[in-house]
């Protein structure tokens, strides 16, 4: 079944999903931390929209709650915290030199294809929206990991981590109309705590190696020089 | 009766041994155009030694003093099991060829210890070389022995000889090899040229003499006598195993006398051959001895294989 004979909500959700993926791509290529955080917030926002629409279309009230939580956490709190740290540690000026962006982008693109390739066979019976949404969210997850692999700023890692969370959340929302409430809350709680801990760690790391470059943290290796 | 014969022939053996030594010396002197001492010279020497007062080093221990007796009696045991003139020897059953080899080793063990006991350099040297040579010689000898025992399928000497006698004259390739192996071993074990030179003292290559340097008086006599016994023992082994003819199969007096003559004849011939070889060959370096003995071992092995391959029933 093709996209034109889906209802508009579904089309909207799909396009939002596409946009979410796009934001991941942008983040992947983004060297400046402040912009990175901003785009991350944007991704969160798109996610909230998608959730809200899903909640409305499937008239599934508790999705509103999770949308609200996401709004609070991923759009407001975490970006705000990250931004504060960036400014405090005066990292808003330095640009991360990413080694061969194009290759990374190509890799990202192939990841999208790959996630379709993985999920396609098992989604035969499922609706097309579901297939796309799931594949895109998987793509977002993988892109998040790729982001962490390619960037070597601790903050970028956090962003990557959180965007993985976004992907998961999106998957949960569209595929299963959200997890059971307890799980949602639990996940949200974990994310919150994690965010706080990240904040603490930035300070510690900065005090110990006076930068947030994770490549500098390789004391604990076993390769004999 | 048998037992009597056994005792008698042992005594005969013991008493004849010096004579053989004397005869051998006589032949050598004759071959080397020297004036030979009388055949009875060895007896005289032994007698003289027994009456001399033995001098023992202060550093010597009890082992040094009892060693000669042990050596002598071990050799005597060895000879009690070898049929000299008559085939069926009751004592032969009490110890077979392997035990015989064992007793020779027994004697050697104490000889070597005695050599080490006083703590002279000569003693150590002699002991070390003696052990080297004997440990090379022993497997060679056992190879030869095995060849014989396999054909006769017994390790009991009197049975073995009986078997060979009954078989009559059979030309076995294995026996030829075994014979040569045994001869080489005998030369090495009795310390004759080209392995060792019995006639020398104070020569750095000497072996047997080096060990008994410290001995004197009756102890020396016993050791000398034991080595003469050993020489004769090997002679008798070779003579009676490979050329058993003439041995007394019945216990008639004539047969015994005939057998006595026969064995003396055989030993005499062997002695002549030995003297000849000792005159012709020079003594070889110590580390050539090992080649000499491994050749003996090889011969023994060949004898074994030829028995298995050429002569075996299956």
């Amino acid at each position: 079944m093709d996209i034109e004979n889906l209802d508009h909500y579904a089309q909207l959700i799909l396009s939002l999903a596409a946009l979410v993926t796009l934001t991941s791509f942008i983040m992947l290529a983004q060297g400046r931390l402040l912009r990175l955080v901003f785009i991350f917030a944007l991704q969160g926002f798109l996610l909230v929209l998608a959730t809200a629409i899903a909640a409305y279309s499937f008239n599934n009230p508790h999705l509103y709650i999770s949308a609200a939580i996401t709004m609070a956490l991923k759009v407001l709190f975490i970006p705000w915290m990250l931004r504060r740290h960036i400014l405090k540690l005066e990292m808003h000026r330095d640009v991360e030199a990413l080694s061969n962006k194009t290759a990374i982008m190509m890799g990202g693109a192939s990841l999208v294809v790959f996630s379709y390739y993985v999920l396609h066979p098992i989604m035969q019976d499922a609706s097309m929206i579901l297939l796309n949404a799931l594949s895109l969210s998987l793509a977002v997850i993988l892109l998040g990991m790729l982001l962490m692999i390619s960037h070597h700023q601790a903050i970028a890692h956090v962003v990557g981590f959180m965007s993985i969370e976004n992907g998961l959340f999106f998957a949960a929302t569209v595929s299963t109309n959200g997890m059971p409430m307890v799980v949602e809350l639990g996940v949200a709680f974990d994310v919150l705590v994690a965010a706080v801990l990240f904040g603490i760690f930035f300070l510690h790391i900065n005090s110990s190696i006076d930068s947030l470059d994770v490549d500098k943290m390789n004391r604990l290796n076993e390769v004999d020089q | 009766m048998n037992l009597l014969i056994a005792i008698m022939q042992t005594l005969l053996f013991i008493s004849l041994a010096p004579l053989l030594a004397g005869w051998l010396k006589w032949c050598k002197c004759y071959l080397q155009n020297r004036k030979a001492p009388s055949l009875l010279q060895p007896y005289r020497d032994l007698l003289k030694l027994t009456h001399k007062q033995p001098v023992v080093s202060k550093d010597a221990s009890w082992l040094f003093i009892i060693a000669p007796y042990i050596i002598f009696s071990a050799t005597v045991i060895a000879i009690t099991v070898i049929p000299l003139i008559t085939v069926d020897l009751p004592t032969a059953a009490s110890a077979d060829m392997i035990v015989l080899v064992g007793f020779l080793a027994f004697a050697r063990f104490f000889l070597v210890l005695a050599g080490l006991d006083v703590g002279t350099a000569f003693g150590g040297m002699g002991s070390s070389r003696e052990m080297t040579i004997s440990s090379m010689a022993e497997p060679a000898m056992l190879m030869a022995v095995f060849t014989i025992t396999m054909t006769a399928s017994t390790t009991n000497l009197s049975f073995a000889i009986e078997h060979i006698l009954q078989e009559g004259l059979v030309l076995r390739p294995s026996y030829i090899f075994a014979l040569f192996a045994l001869i080489l071993v005998a030369i090495a074990e009795t310390g004759r040229i080209p392995v060792d030179n019995p006639a020398t003292h104070l020569e750095l290559t000497m072996i047997h003499e080096a060990m008994i340097l410290e001995y004197s008086g009756r102890h020396l006599a016993l050791i000398e006598w034991a080595s003469q016994l050993k020489l004769m023992l090997y002679g008798v082994l070779i003579a009676n195993i490979f050329f058993p003819w003439g041995m007394a199969e019945t216990l008639s007096l004539s047969a015994l006398g005939y057998a006595l003559l026969a064995i003396m004849g055989k030993l005499g011939v062997l002695a002549i051959l030995l003297a000849l070889s000792e005159t012709l060959f020079a003594k070889m370096r110590l580390f050539r001895v090992q080649e000499f003995l491994s050749f003996a071992y090889l011969l023994g092995l060949l004898g074994m294989l030829s028995h298995i391959i050429l002569e075996a029933s299956r």
Binding site: I122, M179, M181, V183, G186, A194, H204, M217, L220, E222 | -
Partner: protein, 487 residues
């Protein structure tokens, strides 16, 4: 069901209590008391299960069956003994000024937090909650790893945090897929209840479950420390305070494996292919062998034993992967003996490190001459963990070998190679530490070695004879997991 609830509530109280009063003098003993009570509760629970079989709470949020109840008891027990050990240890750390009151508060309250997370993982019936609890365990321990605030410890904590976070995220995706598969036939809230899923596992869509299992395995496997996802483990173990290493090795890894096995049961129920088993066997064997080689190059005593933990977890994963009753029984037994032995070893290691004032293997010398109890404890513990009889580890390894020889004979040489290499790797490092003359000015520390003795005694006992109630227990669990009893 009451004990189960109490079991969860008590640590929660503990978190708060120690967060407030964690700096008092005898806080160590209080912590011990908390854990002691939880142990009693767990025994009570165990008794209930033993008498009346699987218990499902009324709201079916919690399930206690013979598989997890023995893990609960184990957790409570190791938690208790470790807290006994940690009391003097932490006091000593405070004396030498490595820790402040604030950090002690954090330590004790997080200790309880960790215990809570463990109990939650074990008791919950909801796969989602299991995930949440697992993540919570990470969050609880990550601050403890960086407790000393040294650059190394911070680095270790960061790696632990990021790697486990990312890993566990995969597990969540797996859970979502599982939930999706469940919602195909059951729209209700409790679609994610393990009991429900298990009862109609046959209805689940096999392809989805296989994909889901891959994510689960990657996710929880990161926490188990399966090669090549293990990199955080040695760092976290070596840099945190030793009691933490003890519970991490002894409990956290077990529980992660527990989660994987629960999921494997579902996958096996859904599909008739053994793909899940093969994956686990592959990971397990790789971890087993690679870790064995790692042992040869360790310079830090705690890293050494964390690698040995990886090795043993690999072995268990392998055994569970094989899935035959024998193998499962062996794996269950191995879980027990390994966590007992390993936590005992970490106790002695902690004291050894305090005696020498360092964790570097090159500097720890002559323990037997300095403090015989510690030295012998370490030596015997190492013997036990290296799989020498008559200790229990030998029994379980023997059974694993036996099972392997039945199902996959050509794999046994690999296993045996691993065992041999690991034994050599352990002893080439342990021997110089325990033997030899005592170095200058090395003094004995005040230590409480009862935990070690108790643990090793139990392991020895298990090696000589498995008591009936325990073997029945394992047998029931085996039936639950692999469908039939061993012989």
């Amino acid at each position: 069901m009451i004990p189960a609830y109490l079991l969860l509530i008590l640590p929660l109280l503990g978190i708060v209590y120690f967060a407030l009063f964690g700096h008092q003098e005898d806080v160590g003993r209080q912590n011990t008391h908390f854990n002691g009570i939880t142990l009693l509760l767990s025994l009570w629970l165990a008794f209930n299960v033993y008498t009346s079989g699987t218990i499902l709470s009324t709201d079916s949020y919690f399930i206690v069956d013979s598989f997890n109840v023995y893990l609960i008891v184990l957790t409570a027990f190791v938690g208790l003994t470790t807290s006994i050990f940690s009391a003097p240890y932490m006091a000593h750390e405070k004396e030498i000024g490595k820790l402040t009151d604030k950090r002690l508060r954090l330590y004790y309250s997080m200790y309880q937090g960790f215990m809570f997370a463990m109990y939650l993982v074990l008791t919950t019936n909801n796969m989602g909650v299991m995930w949440v609890a697992m993540e919570a365990a990470t969050l609880a321990t990550v601050l403890l790893v960086s407790l000393y605030r040294t650059p190394e410890s911070i680095e270790a904590a960061w790696k632990y945090f990021i790697l486990c976070g990312v890993g566990i995220a995969q597990a969540l995706f797996g859970t979502i897929l599982l939930y999706y598969a469940a919602t195909q036939f059951n729209q209700s809230e409790n679609a994610l209840m393990w009991s429900v899923l298990y009862d109609n596992a046959a209805l689940l869509n096999p392809e989805i479950l296989e994909i889901a299992f891959v994510f689960m395995l990657i996710g929880y496997g990161t926490k188990i420390g399966l090669v090549p996802l293990h990199n955080w483990l040695p760092d976290a173990h070596s840099e945190g305070p030793t009691p933490m290493s003890a519970v991490l090795s002894g409990l956290l890894l077990n529980d992660a494996l527990y989660a994987v096995v629960r999921n494997k049961m579902l996958v096996d129920g859904a599909t008739d292919s053994d793909i899940a088993g093969y994956l686990m066997m592959g990971f397990g064997l790789t971890s087993f062998l690679v870790a064995a080689f790692f042992l040869h190059r360790q310079k830090d005593i705690k890293r050494l034993f964390s690698y040995s933990s990886i090795e043993h977890m690999g072995l268990m994963t392998f055994a569970f992967g094989m899935g035959t009753p024998f193998a499962t029984f062996a794996a269950l037994l191995h879980m027990t003996v390994h966590s007992l032995t390993k936590s005992a070893i970490f106790v002695t290691v902690g004291h050894a490190a305090q005696i020498a004032g360092t964790q570097s293997i090159a500097k720890i010398r002559g323990l037997i001459k300095t403090q015989p109890k510690v030295g012998w404890g370490l030596l015997i513990g190492t013997l036990a963990i290296a799989g020498f009889p008559p200790f229990g580890v030998f029994t379980s390894e023997f059974l694993v070998l036996l099972a392997t020889m039945h199902s996959y004979p050509w794999l046994t040489p690999l296993l045996l190679l691993g065992i041999g290499i690991a034994c050599a790797g352990l002893f080439r490092n342990i021997q110089p530490m325990v033997y030899g003359e005592r170095p200058e000015g090395q003094q004995a520390v005040q230590a409480n070695l009862w935990p070690v003795m108790i643990h090793l005694a139990i392991v020895l006992w298990l090696g000589l004879a498995i008591p009936d109630f325990l073997s029945n227990w394992f047998t029931q669990a085996t039936i639950l997991i692999s469908g039939s009893a061993p012989l």
